[in-house]
C-alpha cells in the first residue's frame, strides 16, 4: 500500500513538473489560454485517477499526452459534432489577412501552426514543444515511428510554406511592424 502511495506521489510530482509544457501544447492546439488550462486540468486529473492503468512509468508523459489529446477531441466533438477532427483546422485568426495584424514573428508562426491539420499540428508540437523523441510521439499518437517521421516531414514542409506565404503577404501589404531603412 505504501509503495503504491509513494509511486502515485512520484508520478504526480513528475506530472506537475511537466505541466507548463502540457499547457503550451494545449495552447498550440486551441489558441485559447482558458481552454488550454481547462484541458490540462482535466487531463491531469484523469491521469492521476488512472495511474494504476499506467504500465510503464517511463512513458508517463506520452501517456498523459494521449489523455490530453482525448480531452481535446472530446471538446471538439462537444463543440461541433459535424466537424471531422482529423481534418479540423481551428479558426483562431486563420484568415490570411489577419496575419497582417500579427504583432510579431511569434504570433505569425503560431497562426501558421494553427492552420496545419490536426495530424500535422500534433506531431510538430509534440516534437518541438514537448521535446518528445520520435518513439515517445509514436507512443502518444499510437502510430508507427515511420509514420511519425513522414508526418513530421510533411508538417514542416507545410509550415514552411505557410510562413513564407504569411511573410509575403506582410511584405506586399507593407503594413508589417518591421520598418525598413535603406
Amino acid at each position: 500500500m505504501f509503495k503504491n502511495r509513494f509511486r502515485h506521489k512520484k508520478l504526480t510530482r513528475e506530472l506537475c513538473a511537466s505541466r507548463h509544457r502540457f499547457y503550451k501544447l494545449a495552447y498550440s492546439w486551441t489558441g485559447d489560454p482558458m481552454l488550454a488550462d481547462d484541458l490540462v486540468q482535466d487531463a491531469m486529473q484523469k491521469a492521476i485517477q488512472s495511474f494504476d492503468s499506467l504500465k510503464d512509468d517511463s512513458k508517463l508523459n506520452a501517456w498523459t499526452c494521449r489523455i490530453l489529446m482525448n480531452c481535446h477531441r472530446d471538446w471538439l466533438r462537444r463543440r461541433k459534432d459535424t466537424v471531422d477532427f482529423d481534418d479540423y483546422e481551428f479558426a483562431a485568426g486563420d484568415d490570411p489577412q489577419s496575419h497582417l495584424s500579427a504583432q510579431d514573428t511569434s504570433a505569425m508562426v503560431r497562426q501558421c501552426i494553427a492552420r496545419l491539420s490536426e495530424k500535422h499540428r500534433n506531431v510538430i508540437t509534440l516534437v518541438d514543444l514537448m521535446e518528445f523523441s520520435y518513439e515517445e510521439v509514436s507512443q502518444a499518437l499510437e502510430i508507427p515511428i515511420g509514420t511519425v517521421m513522414s508526418r513530421l516531414c510533411r508538417a514542416r514542409r507545410q509550415l514552411k510554406q505557410l510562413i513564407a506565404q504569411a511573410s509575403e503577404l506582410e511584405s506586399a501589404a507593407s503594413i508589417t511592424p518591421l520598418r525598413s531603412v535603406k
Binding site: 507548463h20 503550451k24 482558458m34 488550462d37 486529473q45 510579431d104 504570433a107 510538430i124 516531414c153 511592424p177
Partner: protein, 241 residues
C-alpha cells in the same frame, strides 16, 4: 542508415531526424561529414533548424496559465505543512526582531530587469542580413543621424546591430570602409553595439571554408535569428538594414 551520395539522395525524413537529434552517433557523424562538402544540404539543414527554433520560440510569450501551482485534489503532505509552519514562524520571529530596511535601498545586484530609466529608453534593433556594402554604409549613416538626434534632444536610446546571414561578411576587416565607420561610431556612442551570429560564422566556415575574423567592436551571440525574435518580444523597434 544507407550511405548517402548526394544532397538530393538524403531524404527530408533523415534530415529532420538529424535536426531532432534522433540519429545514432554514427549516422550523425555521416551527415556532419556530408554537410562540410555539400552547400545545398547545409542550406536544407539550416532551414529545418530555423523552422524548429521558430516553432519553439513561438510559444515562449503566450499568456501564462491561470491554474494554481498544484493540481486540484492533490492533498497536502505533513512534511510540506510542517515546512510551511516553520517558514511562517521564522518570518514572524524575524519580523519581531526587526531587519534592515529593504525598501528604497540600493539594488547592487544588477539583476533589476527593468528600471524606470530603462522603461523610458528607446530601444532599436537593426538587423543586418545582406552583404551589400553600400546599403550597410547607408544604414550606418542613418544610425549616426538618429543617435546624434537623440543626443541633441537629451533622450535616452539604445541601438544594437545584429548581423547574420550574408550581413556577417561586412563585419570583418575585408570591408575597411565599414570597419572604420563602425569603429568611429562605437567610439562616439557607447549606447551603440554590434553583435554577430555564431551559427552563421560556423556555417560559413563549413560551407565556404571561410573564416571571418570579426573586428573587435563586434561581440558574438549564439543565434542572430533567436536574438532578433527575443528583442522584438521585448518591445525593441526593428529596422532592417
Amino acid at each position: 542508415m544507407h550511405n548517402p551520395k548526394t544532397s538530393s539522395e538524403i531524404s527530408d525524413e533523415l534530415l529532420n531526424s538529424f535536426v531532432d537529434r534522433q540519429l545514432t552517433s554514427e549516422e550523425r557523424q555521416e551527415i556532419l561529414h556530408r554537410l562540410k562538402q555539400d552547400r545545398k544540404l547545409s542550406d536544407r539543414v539550416c532551414e529545418l533548424q530555423h523552422l524548429k527554433e521558430m516553432t519553439r520560440l513561438a510559444y515562449d510569450d503566450i499568456p501564462p496559465s491561470k491554474l494554481p501551482k498544484r493540481i486540484a485534489g492533490e492533498r497536502d503532505s505533513w512534511p510540506r505543512m510542517a515546512a510551511a509552519a516553520l517558514i511562517f514562524g521564522l518570518g514572524l520571529l524575524l519580523g519581531m526582531i526587526g531587519l534592515p530596511q529593504w525598501s528604497g535601498g540600493d539594488d547592487r545586484s544588477g539583476l533589476a530587469a527593468s528600471t524606470p530609466a530603462d522603461a523610458h529608453t528607446t530601444k532599436v534593433l537593426v538587423h543586418l542580413s545582406s552583404a551589400d556594402p553600400q546599403a550597410a554604409l547607408n544604414t550606418l549613416g542613418n544610425l549616426e543621424q538618429m543617435l546624434a538626434d537623440y543626443r541633441k534632444r537629451g533622450e535616452p536610446v539604445r541601438v544594437e546591430v545584429i548581423a547574420n546571414g550574408d550581413g556577417i561578411k561586412l563585419l570583418g576587416p575585408g570591408t575597411p570602409a565599414i570597419a572604420g565607420r563602425i569603429a568611429a561610431l562605437t567610439r562616439e556612442y557607447d549606447n551603440l553595439s554590434f553583435a554577430a551570429c555564431r551559427n552563421t560564422l560556423e556555417q560559413l566556415q563549413l560551407t565556404e571554408g571561410r573564416h571571418i575574423r570579426l573586428i573587435p567592436q563586434v561581440r558574438l551571440i549564439d543565434s542572430g535569428v533567436v536574438e532578433v525574435i527575443r528583442r522584438q518580444k521585448e518591445g525593441w523597434a526593428y529596422i532592417r538594414g
